[in-house]
């Protein structure tokens, strides 16, 4: 009797597991279906030119999304990434135009990304403030600082070497795509192969247990905001290079696309769960929906509706997944 009970239980767990895997990889299948459908209804979709164009556009969302993924896995949220992108790229472009040194401009971008991320992280951890509130404030402050710095006018006439990050090519590969690949690989390695990544997952899943295991929770939580800041700076350089100007309203609303990419890609807003490849697929889904609606000459206002709907569907799928996990747990513990 005992053995049949246990045997059946394992069988049932296996069934549930297979279902859970399908749901978990659902985002990948949705991307595949989306691409197949678009290639059937539009003969322009599956052309190298169009796909590279999509890739170029998606990089900014994807890199911001990667930064936000770190924060959300650590059970935080960062609403400031759009403004942070603007302020870091304005500083970089300003320095580029006045000083003429590419290296200095890049250092200023990354440095200010680190600095602002650190400020937000410290406020959140040391003073125990809600990440939502701090980064909401940051969103407004950084935008204001951008406007102050630029006087409200775009900084343009950037030299060729700076523009390369947004519009250059290496062979047939657009430079931004190459940068995204590097960022993604580094982020993946940090999250899944290093102590830092393990601790971020642990904190997001159970902060108390992690702290009681002797881990400096505040340090690693702050680090997620610093990583997000660096990603903003990188995304900002790409965007500025592509449009050949640092616009004071650059990146406005991008925080939502970045968070959407993470959430569509399976990052749990409760923290503790999420992957880099999920976020990239999420960014691709958003980019391809926008591209598809363009190709099909559908009113662009539908884009926002479509992206919003995808976010809600993604969260719905996430719910189902959590439900399945709980079921699995129940079967495992018998009652």
């Amino acid at each position: 009797m005992v053995f049949t009970v246990r045997g059946d239980r394992i069988k049932r767990q296996d069934n549930l597991r297979i279902k859970a895997v399908i749901v978990r990889t659902g985002v990948f299948w949705s991307l595949a279906v989306l691409m197949i459908v678009l290639s059937l209804v539009s003969d322009q979709f599956l052309t190298a030119g169009n796909l590279l164009n999509v890739a170029r556009q998606v990089t900014v969302t994807a890199i911001l999304g990667i930064g936000v993924t770190f924060v959300i896995i650590g059970a935080g949220i960062d609403l400031s990434v759009g403004s942070l992108l603007a302020v870091t790229s304005a500083y970089a472009a300003g320095s580029m135009v006045t000083q003429g040194s590419l290296l200095l401009a890049l250092l200023i971008a990354i440095g200010s990304g680190v600095g602002f991320g650190l400020c937000q992280g410290v406020l959140i951890t040391k003073f125990n403030l809600a990440p939502f509130a701090v980064t909401l404030g940051g969103m407004s402050i950084f935008r204001g600082m951008t406007l102050l710095f630029t006087g409200g006018y775009p900084i343009s006439k950037l030299p060729e070497n700076f523009r390369w990050f947004g519009s250059g090519n290496i062979g047939f590969l657009p430079a931004p795509l190459l940068i995204l690949i590097i960022v993604a690989v580094v982020a993946y390695i940090i999250l899944s192969k290093t102590r830092v990544g393990r601790y971020i997952y642990a904190i997001g899943s159970n902060e108390n247990a992690t702290r009681l295991s002797g881990i400096d929770v505040n340090f690693y939580r702050t680090l997620t905001y610093v990583i997000a800041g660096v990603c903003c700076a990188i995304a900002g350089i790409i965007l500025t290079g592509r449009v050949n100007s640092a616009h004071p309203y650059a990146g406005q609303g991008y925080e939502l696309n970045a968070i959407a990419a993470a959430v569509i890609g399976g990052t749990s807003l409760n923290g503790g769960e999420g992957t880099i490849y999920g976020t990239i697929i999420g960014a691709l889904i958003i980019g391809i929906i926008e591209n598809g609606l363009n190709l099909l000459q559908i009113n662009p206002f539908y884009q926002d509706v479509a992206v919003g709907a995808v976010i809600i569907v993604a969260i719905l799928v996430d719910r189902t997944r959590i439900g399945m996990q709980e079921k699995l747990a129940k079967v495992a513990t018998d009652e």
Partner: protein, 503 residues
């Protein structure tokens, strides 16, 4: 009030079976209940107690079998239907609205209203009647959030009585109660029984079962082992019935304490929490901390561990003095804390067994820049085997393990580190008898190998059975110290209740 065959059973369950998509979790179980009887339902985790009680209370539907309530066929469609038949359940977790008053909670969902306006007086009057009848200590008009845990439980019971229930199922009712509160609950149960109300009592605590019940039904692996008159059993026999194997004796503790003092706390103070605490711990010793819930024991441990900042005092650990303990440094020095609240402070549910085990020593698992999966695997599989943690593999999520195995995983996390002083806070709460026994055995092994243990426990037999020495706390102060033959339950209780006195 032992049941006689002449009275008719108020509830009869015949061959109750529950199959969850192919898995039989309850197999042909018979159960009956007589008026004015407390019938205990015992078994290890997963034995089927909760399933049976859920079937009776209409939470889930049985797959096969029949039930009769008061002589009539009984097929509850849902909990409301069960309540209509006079059967309610008091869950381990309360379903109360904190911002509403006692009376408002009792009448939630069944408020008497005149013209859309709730007739509060009617609710208060009726709630008051029940409270008076059973002489309960419950302020009717107070908001539930200001009540003690035991009072909240009374509200749940009053809710059942207000529904005219004559069968009440209590699932681990004393899990969060202190000894005194438990005694109060037993008095109330006795009063209920005298009124002819029948109670199905589910608990892990065997001493309570012997105090409160008239009959005991033992379940094991979804099957019924038997129903016994409480008087015909003793604790050892009951444990053996539950586990299905001989557990010769729960605690077989030998004193491994050596003379060397490894930890000494001096003048530890956190105003309003614990004041002027001093004690020593010897190598290989098990030092128990007794007292009531809220006496400041957990807080004291968290102060030593660096989780709660202290206002004064110092702790000396292996010759190193800490005036401001920090968790990371304490862990490095060999002091670790196994929290009481396993779910919120112990396990990381969404992470793998191996990841949970290596969390505190991840630094040592790094080769080059990266965490070495091979090293993690070998480290964790060794300890999983040693502690006999039942998992389906090292990559199973810890949230999916049973309570006892989760506790072992948290223990494993510390045992792989260089632990020298282990603080255990309620280490066996909510885990079944078999796992408890294994944890006690492990504690003995650890002491023998020279590790010192501090154990907080609210379970007297465990405290008395396992500890070489016991400190009793009350209201943030140490009120008594007991060792050897002086360790007696009554003495511990009297020290624990020594309010306002200093040593």
């Amino acid at each position: 009030m032992v049941t006689s065959d002449s009275t008719q059973a108020i509830l009869e369950v015949k061959k109750a079976t529950k199959i969850y998509s192919g898995v039989t979790v309850l197999s042909s179980v018979d159960f009956d209940l007589y008026p004015g009887e407390v019938h205990a339902l015992v078994g290890e985790n997963g034995a089927g107690k909760s399933t049976l009680s859920k079937i009776i209370s209409g939470v889930i539907e049985k797959s096969a079998g029949s039930m009769k309530c008061k002589g009539e066929d009984y097929h509850p469609l849902n909990t409301h239907d069960a309540i209509r038949h006079g059967i309610s359940i008091v869950h381990q977790e309360f379903n109360l609205i904190p911002v509403l008053t006692v009376a408002q909670n009792v009448f939630l969902g069944k408020e008497k209203a005149a013209g859309g306006v709730i007739d509060e007086k009617e609710s208060i009057r009726k709630t008051g009647d029940i409270i008076d009848k059973f002489k309960l200590n419950l302020p009717i008009k107070r908001k539930v959030c200001y009540l003690s845990v035991s009072q909240m439980q009374l509200v749940e019971i009053v809710k059942c009585l207000c529904d005219d229930s004559d069968i009440i199922i209590m699932d681990e009712p004393t899990a969060t109660l202190t000894k005194n509160e438990t005694q109060q609950l037993f008095r109330i149960i006795e009063d209920l029984r005298k009124e002819g109300i029948s109670i199905i009592y589910i608990s892990h605590k065997l001493d309570e079962i012997f105090t409160v019940s008239q009959r005991i039904t033992v379940l094991r692996d979804g099957e019924k082992v038997g129903t016994y008159r409480t008087g015909d059993l003793d604790e050892n026999r009951l444990v053996n019935l539950m586990v299905g194997r001989e557990i010769s004796s729960m605690y077989q503790h030998e004193n491994y304490a050596q003379d060397e003092v490894v930890l000494s706390v001096r003048g530890f103070t956190k105003y309003g929490v614990a004041e002027n605490i001093s004690f020593d711990l010897k190598r290989g010793e098990i030092l128990g901390f007794g007292g009531l819930v809220g006496a400041g024991r957990t807080e004291l441990m968290k102060m030593m561990f660096g989780e709660i900042p202290i206002d004064g005092g110092e702790v000396e650990l292996f010759g190193e003095t800490f005036t401001r303990p920090k968790i990371g440094r304490m862990v490095k020095a060999g002091l670790v804390y196994l929290p009481e609240d396993r779910k919120n402070e112990g396990i990381i549910a969404s992470m793998k067994v191996s990841e949970n085990i290596t969390l505190a020593i991840l630094r040592k698992m790094v080769r080059g820049l990266f965490v070495s999966p091979a090293l993690e695997k070998s480290t964790s599989s060794e300890i999983v085997q040693k502690l006999q943690i039942k998992t389906q593999g090292l990559s199973q999520k810890v949230g999916n393990l049973s309570g006892g195995n989760q506790q072992k995983v948290v223990l494993a996390r510390w045992l792989v580190s260089n632990v020298r002083v282990l603080i255990l806070d309620e280490p066996t709460r909510g885990i079944d008898v078999g796992a408890k026994h294994e944890i006690y055995k492990l504690m003995n092994q650890l002491c023998e190998s020279g590790i010192s243990i501090i154990m907080i426990s609210s379970e007297m037999p465990e405290l008395i059975g396992m500890c070489d020495r016991i400190l009793v706390m009350c209201e943030g102060r140490i009120t008594g110290e007991l060792a050897g033959d002086a360790i007696q339950e009554t003495t511990i209780m009297s020290y624990a209740a020594q309010r306002g006195h200093r040593m």
